[in-house]
Symmetry: C2
Subunit: 176 residues, 2 copies
DNA sequence: ATGTCTGCAAAGATTTTGCAGCTGA
DNA sequence: TCAGCTGCAAAATCTTTGCAGACAT
């Protein structure tokens, strides 16, 4: 079992450190399944759903179960290694990039759904001031901007989401 | 049927206008159920879930069905009379205040979940510039800040969410 | 040795939908 | 009249959980 001897070296430094700390702090056990799923979560900077993570994990080790994926997601959320982000879809979407970029934000195309991550120091300062002004202590911030992407702007449309919108189509079940 | 003769006068002016326009534009029918549910949605500035809206609607007219509530929510979203906001709970939460305050934002206490709405003109300008700089056309924006509220700051804790957090409790079903 | 973890299948929860009958325009 | 709307119950989807056996420490 290639992953059972420790966290794989391919994990980013920051991620590995925080992961180790979390294992120690909480006394969690280091199981092959967990290591596999964690590796899968950080194998790319792409956001993922529970099922997409399951897919990735199974391509590393086919004997991974969906339940364990969900349990590992809780583990990663608890360690603040990933965060749930709002896509208002029927399912939760997770972002593994907050370890490297703790204050990044999201710009989403209202049409095709394409998403861009960006950081901005002005915004960070602004957020800090604003929060204090309202009598709160700053903690996390995330700006989500919906806008029209380049394709939409130049072409006049990007087919993708238009269909779904016109039909008023929403995913069944919810969840979301 | 007290609501069948038109949109009740209690709806805010802006809401009523946009609602009328939407009825005309889309050729939707004006049914007692819809009027009831719309009235319920704007009977308070509070955010609501589908079930809470159903509850409110039934207190006006007990013969309202859950399915129609869901269908009316789609109708209201389509008219941009309400918006879905991110609470990362297991269910969708809707905000009826975007008609009156099209650019408002949310500050959420990470502990008790208390939510404050605020507007800020600096942020609006910022959002506009930023979006264009990234090559997009601005559309909607919503800043969601997570922070520690006053109770938490002074008392050191506000019991509410602490329990849920410690247990790692999440609502079953998805929903979220 | 033992308390934690996994996998499976079943349960839970939210949201959508098919259909038959009703109703607004 | 008749296309669109409602209510009901069933379906669909995502997520959590109980339990028995496996395993990390």
């Amino acid at each position: 079992m290639r992953l059972s001897s420790g966290v794989p070296a391919t994990l980013p430094e920051n991620v590995r450190e925080r992961l180790e700390a979390h294992y120690r702090r909480r006394g969690f056990r280091r199981t092959p399944q967990r290591e596999t799923i964690v590796a899968a979560a950080f194998s790319s900077e792409e956001h993922f759903t529970a099922d997409e993570l399951w897919e990735r994990a199974r391509s590393i080790d086919p004997r991974t179960s969906r339940a364990t994926v969900y349990r590992t997601i809780s583990f990663l959320l608890d360690a603040d290694l990933i965060r749930e982000i709002d896509l208002s879809q029927g399912q939760a979407v997770y972002d593994p990039n907050f370890v490297e970029k703790p204050n990044h934000n999201h710009l989403v195309c209202v049409d095709c759904g394409r998403m861009i991550e960006f950081e901005d120091s002005h915004l960070e300062v602004f957020h800090e001031c604003l929060t204090r002004r309202l009598g709160f202590l700053p903690s996390r911030q995330n700006l989500r901007i919906e806008a029209c992407c380049e394709t939409l702007r130049t072409t006049g449309r990007c087919a993708h989401l238009i269909e779904a919108r016109i039909k008023g189509k929403r995913l069944p079940g919810r969840r979301r």
